[in-house]
């Protein structure tokens, strides 16, 4: 039974996702002791010579027709994870997920077909509520971390994600969400509901929250090193009509960095 982590990383004109993937792979190797496979394209890898942090590099033709905040965001094709993964049990991870512990290994204990996060929290803004697919819809699932086995049901999920991606405008119209930018979170949410007969099944949901470090947050490392796990988070808080800076210290905790620039500064 082979286990490993799959990362998708395609460089955009503004963000070096392959470097981010390389940094994340190093941390996965260290904290999870798992091999990492990178899915990327020819263009993203032409300036890189060393891929020692990866067990395998898979090059595919990338789809560049998604735009987010005036930049190309190559996030389509995530459904290929099922076919591309060389592992029997895979953790499919976003490259901006900061691994600081072995928490993700717990996924293998509870994995039947696939699992992902439904609930999340913003560390400095606990009042932020769960995101819904639309105003009158249901909570979204997060594609940041997906654990899956090569089972029939997991295959159905990824096949369904492909269908949603290819018919994104239709599903946007059906569930009334904006289709300006393609999001894997949305296609995962819809696919999960389809393969479960539109009944949410708890066994596919990770029983802990996905921790986000939000956009308007600064993150500092104690010491820039390969495996630093201590951070200081600084954020602005309105108090008595004044904007005040507050901070907390965190350690040995995995989190998802929403702001790519913040992630790049940590590397």
């Amino acid at each position: 039974m082979s286990r490993g982590v799959l990362l998708f990383g395609f460089n955009s004109p503004k963000v070096d996702y392959v470097s981010m993937a390389s940094y994340t792979a190093r941390r996965i190797n260290n904290f999870l002791k798992l091999p990492v496979t990178l899915v990327t394209d020819e263009e993203s890898t032409e300036n890189y010579y060393e891929f020692e942090d990866f067990e395998k590099i898979i090059k595919i033709d990338s789809n560049k027709d998604n735009i987010f905040r005036d930049d190309i965001w190559i996030n389509k094709g995530r459904y290929m994870a099922y076919e591309l993964s060389p592992y029997d049990e895979t953790i499919l991870l976003d490259v901006d997920y900061m691994v600081n512990s072995d928490r993700l290994l717990k996924i293998f204990d509870l994995l039947e077909d696939y699992v992902c996060h439904e609930s999340m929290c913003h560390l400095m803004k606990p009042e932020i509520t769960q995101e819904n697919l639309s105003d009158f819809s249901f909570p979204i699932l997060w594609a940041t971390v997906i654990g899956f086995k090569k089972t029939q049901k997991a295959k159905q999920l990824f096949d369904c994600m492909k269908m949603v991606q290819e018919n994104y405008a239709h599903y946007g119209h059906l569930y009334t969400f904006s289709v300006d930018t393609y999001r894997n979170d949305y296609s995962l949410t819809i696919a999960h509901r389809i393969v479960n007969g539109h009944i949410s099944d708890k066994k596919n949901i990770l029983p802990w929250n996905l921790i986000h470090i939000g956009l308007k947050t600064k993150l500092y490392v104690e010491r820039k090193s390969k495996y630093n796990t201590k951070y200081t988070i600084v954020f602005d808080q309105w108090k008595n009509n004044k904007l005040k800076k507050e901070y907390i210290n965190i350690a040995d905790t995995d989190f998802h960095v929403i702001n790519k620039e913040v992630f790049l500064e940590l590397m």
Partner: protein
């Protein structure tokens, strides 16, 4: 980077409530245990039930599946996880309360 100097220069205040919230998030997954074909949370409710239960009993796990379990074995395992995790959490909270 000297982050202590950094936050002092910024005149940033330590956010006790956010830090407390963070610790709760950090430790929440550490109470989750997969054992005897089910997924369990080492919390006071489950421990209380297991303490009083017959040797073989049926308990609904976190994924809503009724599972036949050896209550004593599960109790021992969950209690160990509970004590260890609460101890770590408690110690980290005590450290945090010293921060200004």
């Amino acid at each position: 980077m000297d982050t202590k100097k950094l936050v002092a220069d910024m005149k940033a205040r330590f956010a006790h409530n956010s830090a407390k919230h963070y610790l709760k998030e950090k430790y929440s997954s550490k109470f989750i245990v997969a054992d005897q074909g089910g997924l369990w949370k080492a919390d006071p409710n489950t421990l209380s039930f297991l303490y009083t239960a017959q040797e073989k009993t049926i308990l609904v796990d976190l994924y809503d599946n009724p599972i036949t379990i050896d209550a004593q074995k599960l109790y021992k395992k969950l209690l160990e996880v509970y004590n260890l995790t609460m101890q770590e959490w408690h110690e980290e909270l005590k450290e945090l309360e010293k921060t200004r």
